[in-house]
Symmetry: C3
Subunit: 269 residues, 3 copies
């Protein structure tokens, strides 16, 4: 028996985000940089894509949150990721790991395993990626999920318990769990998976919300819910993935408490 949750905490985190414009350092893949930076900007955060080991750690010492995404991986970038994660951990800065297509190659699996040892505050992936981490088996097709988030709820709860990270599984319905509590976020639009890298952008938003909200579960629910609300709104008038993308940015910038209340639902499991 599930319980509908008052979404006022999502609105509160959203208002904090707009009030504080936190600086979010995002070490991410080339494909997602444009949309992730624009999503952060539109939602009220201040994005900075600083990746190289010569400065990534130093930058992380004054960023309000950090996100690390392995979409387009190479050794110099992995060095920067590790330095930034270390710096974030030393200062207690929240950081989010996005294990893009982790099941696809040995290099991805190794990189993710090394980053998991640094215990990210949050792991945000699609169902295939969370499944791949949880089972350490090869899964997923490219970077898109071929299974639904709801199908991996139990695995997500187990993974969160095991890693001591909050686990966020994105999909038609998003799952957020710290191993004890588990929430579903309903919202969004069917066109969203056709816009490349919105998953990567959601990772950035989750990081931004963790910068302004101390409870990583509440923050992560808010991050996913903000994107879902804007996506639902954008989908009303979108004619395809091209128009959904720019409408999503317009809706993010114009989001308010009433729209959040109307366009998403959060459910406690």
């Amino acid at each position: 028996m599930n319980t509908r949750v008052d979404i006022s905490s999502v609105a509160a985190v959203h208002n904090e985000l707009r009030a504080k414009t936190p600086l979010v350092q995002y070490i991410t893949n080339y494909v997602s940089m444009d949309i992730a930076a624009n999503v952060l900007n539109a939602a009220g955060a201040s994005p900075a894509m600083v990746h190289d080991v010569h400065e990534a750690g130093e930058f992380a010492t004054f960023a309000s949150a950090l996100a690390i995404n392995i979409g387009t991986l190479s050794p110099p970038w992995v060095e920067g990721m590790e330095a930034a994660a270390r710096a974030a951990n030393e200062l207690g800065t929240p950081w989010v790991l996005d294990p893009v297509a982790v099941g696809a190659t040995a290099y991805r699996r190794e990189t993710v395993m090394a980053l998991l040892e640094q215990r990210p505050t949050v792991i945000r992936g699609n169902a295939s990626e969370i499944l791949a981490i949880a089972t350490q088996t090869r899964g997923g097709k490219g970077v898109d999920s071929t299974i639904d988030a709801a199908a991996v709820i139990d695995l997500a709860v187990e993974l969160a318990g095991h890693t001591d990270s909050v686990v966020v599984v994105s999909g038609k319905t998003d799952v957020v769990t710290d191993g004890q509590r588990a929430y579903l976020v309903h919202g969004g639009h069917d066109l969203m998976p056709l816009v490349t890298a919105l998953g990567c952008a959601s990772t950035a938003l989750v990081a931004a919300c963790n910068a302004v909200e101390a409870d990583p579960v509440a923050a992560s629910v808010a991050g996913m819910a903000i994107l879902a609300a804007a996506g639902s709104l954008a989908g009303i008038r979108a004619d395809g993935p091209g128009s959904l993308r720019w409408r999503l940015l317009d809706e993010l910038a114009g989001l308010d408490d009433a729209k959040i209340a109307k366009h998403i639902a959060v459910e406690a499991l």
Copy 2:
């Protein structure tokens, strides 16, 4: 005397593409990544930009097609390109080479010559680039074509015969030839060259079609025709390059047999 070709094979390849959502590995320049991934996604394929030598070859062993674009070149990327091309060749996976601005620098010429030795299934360039490869002379202005595709038909036929690759020359009218057969694809819109990297995106679509159609000429005609049809449709209501870009993605996602039949023409030479 040219012959108008029944475009039903374009529609057939397009339907195959949507049915199979092939995984397309695209090692491409930074400028094109966003639009190329979104074009692949909107057209029904599954994009993955995996470039580094630590995983590019491994990834190519399970990708359905590979494309390699030299737009923003550097030594680590060239290593990844060569490893991926080798892996594709070992498994008979089709791959497409996009020799962006090949005439501009010695480094580009050398890189393209080395990749040509691995015999790509398809070479896709604009007229200046095909001319530069065919004549090994310096040509082209930046990455844009300053001559028309039609002017290099004979050179394209000769290059295809010589390299044993299908050659695709993009332009106002596209040329596709394997040295024996040659086709012209009519369609598209005058605003398309003002949208950066649509040529790079066409390379990705050609790769995607080669993943689902065994005849590389038919596949390449279909790839260029799909983009041209969506471009023609997008141009109807576009007010400039900004609106053309997102409308093109909307039209790609909504393309069907009737629209293809109405908005492009394929001609056999």
Copy 3:
């Protein structure tokens, strides 16, 4: 007492730009590549993002202008930047430096100081960045400006005199000065800072205008004014940062003398 300047020289530079379509080499950060290339294309220039030391210097020998942006810095890119700046200087090709977030890390400060020794034709930054260079102190929050351009006019004039570069400070009102003359460019729209990397795109436009106009002050005023005019026009019907972005590209492509005259103002100090 300020003087309103006849904006006919902006229109003249704009028409030269469209007539000559200069090749602009832009070594820039990953986040900005898409929008910067599309802005150059829409405004009439020919963009080329060629960064690696194996070809960046060679490419700069035939580019009409060069721009260097340190947004996503790493050692191989710094090598390419230095080689390209040297090649530009040897041939007297104008080049523009964009010191993104220079105050944030030691690596950025060092890189900018080394590039300044090569005396860029123009330095284009926001107020925080210009302040950071001028005072060599840590300033700025991420890559966004937290202070207004007008507040640093005196510092900009001093920096221009000291470095022998034209200094452009972008903001709600832009400042352009060579240490002797100083101009303000009024125009643009409040939504522009919410679109990521429009500052980086303005750097590219300033470079493009310097390719067709020998006076770097007049060229830089024109570059900033062209973007401001298109931004003002785009803002009329934009509903947020997503729609502003594509409308800006449409407006850039459709800009003419009358629109420039109506939508910006240039003031001599």
